[in-house]
């Protein structure tokens, strides 16, 4: 190679690194057509099956994989063939995960929207019997109940969760490891167990009776690990230079956390709170045991049975009348909208977090840089 004289600077033709995409596509299409034809042959001619869409699709898919493998193996060898078939399988898996979510959202809108009227937000079920039309009555009592319970649960779990996150990330101590582990494990605490717990402690032990507050407590138990873990991750991103600058200026630890660390992580903390709310707003199982549900308005969260949206949907779906089931879809639509709003809110708040937090990081923690930064952080 080195002995070869340098030839004239003839520009080498630009090399195409892609293999022919057209041929690949042709193989794919060929396999699809082949398998479709065979499936049709089986279903329409050979077997006495009645043609059903789902069975046909499954059969077609199976035969397609086989045909595609055979075709690519013939053309490129077994290694490439395995690659292609696995590519198809992995894409199918991803589609299988994504299709239900779109299906659920679409179906809830399709079923719920025709029943949803303005009175759904202004009436209760107090005078609505099983035989009323689906558009009669409303879920005002449930919506008010949901908002109140969610609010109380947030008031309880957010200070606790954020303080725990501060302990995990700022204070640190012998409890750090076990707390982190327990918080991780608690994220998948069965919601019905939280309900049973609150029932046993508040209703059996203290004789409080069913109330929205009992429901809020159960929600707070479920919300706590989500808030803690998310908040801890947010606090971890706060640059250490900020903390050190504040401590070096003579601020005590609590002022550092309160005036520097928490304000810096504010956007991320809001995300943590909202994610926690989104996690519990649709919880039904613990509410069956704590808030119990009702069909009339009870605005007092601290006493008496109270309804909320998940209970509304659950009770309407469990009944036998078609009109009630339709009303349940309207409730499900409102609930889904609530979750979507919370989710989008969390995303919007979460997005500037990375930009805002990362910005001060590359700056060296020198004396002159400290001043403008200090002005920015309390903002």
């Amino acid at each position: 190679m080195t002995t070869q004289p340098i030839a004239a600077p003839r520009p080498a033709p630009r090399r195409r690194t892609r293999t022919g995409a057209g041929a690949d596509l042709a193989e794919f299409a060929g396999a699809a057509v082949t398998s479709f034809a065979i499936t049709w042959l089986i279903f329409a001619r050979l077997m006495p099956f009645t043609v059903q869409a789902v069975g046909f699709a499954v059969c077609w898919y199976g035969l397609f994989l086989l045909a595609y493998w055979l075709i690519t193996r013939d053309g490129h060898g077994p290694v490439i063939a395995a690659d292609r078939v696995m590519g198809v399988l992995i894409t199918t898996g991803a589609l299988a995960a994504v299709t239900p979510i779109l299906g659920v959202i679409g179906y809830v809108i399709y079923k719920g929207a025709p029943v949803l009227r303005l009175n759904f937000f202004t009436e209760t079920l107090a005078v609505t019997g099983p035989l009323s039309a689906a558009t009669e009555g409303g879920a005002m009592h449930s919506i008010i109940g949901t908002l109140e319970q969610l609010g109380v649960a947030t008031l309880i779990s957010v200070p606790l969760g954020v303080l725990t996150a501060v302990y995990l990330n700022e204070v640190r101590g012998p409890l750090t490891r076990p707390t982190r582990l327990v918080a991780d494990a608690m994220t998948a605490l069965p919601s019905i167990v939280a309900g049973l717990f609150v029932y046993s402690i508040l209703i059996l032990q203290f004789g409080w009776g069913f109330s929205g507050f009992a429901g809020s407590l159960a929600l707070a138990v479920l919300m706590l690990p989500t808030v803690t873990i998310t908040a801890e991750q947010v606090l971890r991103v706060v640059p250490g230079g900020l903390r050190e600058a504040s401590l070096a200026l003579g601020a005590p630890q609590w002022r550092t956390v309160l005036m520097v660390v928490l304000p810096t992580a504010r956007a991320g903390l809001s995300t943590a709170v909202i994610l926690g709310m989104a996690r519990v707003v649709g919880e039904t199982a613990p509410m069956i045991l704590t808030a119990f549900g009702s069909s009339t308005l009870n605005a007092n969260v601290f006493s008496g049975q109270q309804d909320d949206l998940p209970l509304f949907v659950y009770n309407q779906v469990s009944s036998s009348q078609d009109t009630q089931v339709q009303r349940a879809w309207a409730g499900a639509l409102v609930l889904l909208a609530l979750v979507l709003v919370l989710f989008v809110l969390a995303r919007l708040l979460g997005r500037p977090r990375t930009a805002r937090v990362r910005r001060p990081a590359p700056k060296p923690a020198t004396e002159p840089a400290a001043k403008p930064r200090q002005e920015r952080t309390p903002r």
Binding site: A97, Y107, P252, F343
Partner: protein, 326 residues
């Protein structure tokens, strides 16, 4: 370690640095510690209170609590046990995991390795959104849309295979453990996927590129680099999904027709899970019934807590990348 401590001691007189906290700091530190302690205490409290309330039933039933299928705790001769519930719980969880495992691993790989960059972010958000959608909504969607869609195929499987395979036999289909498990998988897929995706995305890029440079196909690279790297995350993520599947209430409550029996014919109507039994039996339960439900809840809590704890351990270990760096 040793040299760094030796250096200051070389000086004539070592200066003592005293860390003294102000009163505010002591307050702040104890407050934060208290919050963490509350979180820890909560899990203990849950166990203790359920145990206290469960004691009457456990004393009444003794070991038969584990072996008996029936559930008649209120009455002259109470006879109850969790074996039917536990069976239903494990069957539904097994079905859910059989779906969740391949789908979530495939989705995680797809998002990390196959998806174009723009779709990647959307897909990740969609999976997160899926985790936020209430299980109640998945349950009613499954009940009114998914199961009617699958009924013809299940009917066909029962007709054709029921003769030769005993567990495929069924008198009536639809409200079966299998369908409940299928709907539960919708709730476990996002949890498992997001954790597996996160762990797989930490695969060292240079090793992937090395594999590709050596002539591996994309699948070859995934099989030899990505999957071995993420084994811990895949196991841990699936176990977190399993913990969720065991505790899922609504899908089983709405879909299953309640029967307290151990039924290996998974496609046939009827069955019960621990969580759905609590939800269904709660309204009619008397004193002993409540206590028995508490005992069932305690069993569920213990099982899921152990599984989640193990999963959290596995995931946190694989997240930190220990054992891979070598």
């Amino acid at each position: 370690m040793a040299p760094s401590t030796a250096v200051p001691e070389a000086g004539p007189e070592r200066r003592k640095i005293e860390t003294r906290l102000t009163r505010g700091d002591r307050l702040y530190r104890s407050l934060a510690t208290a919050a963490a302690a509350v979180t820890l205490a909560l899990i203990v409290l849950i166990g203790v209170f359920l145990l206290i309330r469960a004691m009457p039933a456990l004393r009444e039933a003794g070991w038969s609590f584990i072996t008996v299928k029936e559930w008649r705790p209120d009455g002259q001769q109470p006879r109850f046990g969790v074996s039917a519930m536990l069976f239903g719980t494990f069957v539904t969880a097994l079905v859910a995991m059989a779906v969740t495992f391949p789908v979530s691993v495939a989705t995680a790989i797809f998002i990390n390795e196959y998806a174009p960059r723009r779709i990647k972010q959307t897909l990740t958000s969609l999976i997160d959104l899926m985790a936020a959608i209430p299980s109640l909504i998945f349950a009613i969607w499954g009940l009114f849309f998914l199961i009617p869609l699958l009924l013809p195929i299940e009917q066909w499987a029962v007709d054709e295979l029921g003769g030769s395979l005993p567990f495929m036999r069924a008198a009536a289909i639809g409200a079966s453990l299998f369908n409940a498990g299928l709907v539960i998988s919708l709730m476990t897929i996002p949890i498992a996927t997001s954790i597996i995706r996160e762990v797989l995305s930490q695969t060292p890029r240079h090793e992937c590129e090395g594999a590709l440079a050596l002539g591996a196909t994309r699948w070859g690279m995934i099989r030899t680099v990505v999957l071995p790297f993420g084994r811990g995350g895949i196991v841990g993520g699936s176990m977190l999904g399993l913990g969720r599947a065991l505790g899922e209430t609504l899908a089983a409550t709405l879909i299953l027709s309640v029967t307290f029996e151990i039924k290996p014919r998974v496609l046939e109507n009827g069955g019960i899970t621990v969580a759905s039994a609590i939800a269904v039996q709660f309204k009619d339960a008397q004193t002993m019934g409540l206590s028995a439900l508490m005992a069932a809840g305690l069993a569920l809590f213990a099982v899921t807590f152990v599984i989640n704890m193990l999963a959290a351990l596995v995931v946190s270990r694989s997240r930190s990348g220990a054992g891979v760096e070598a």
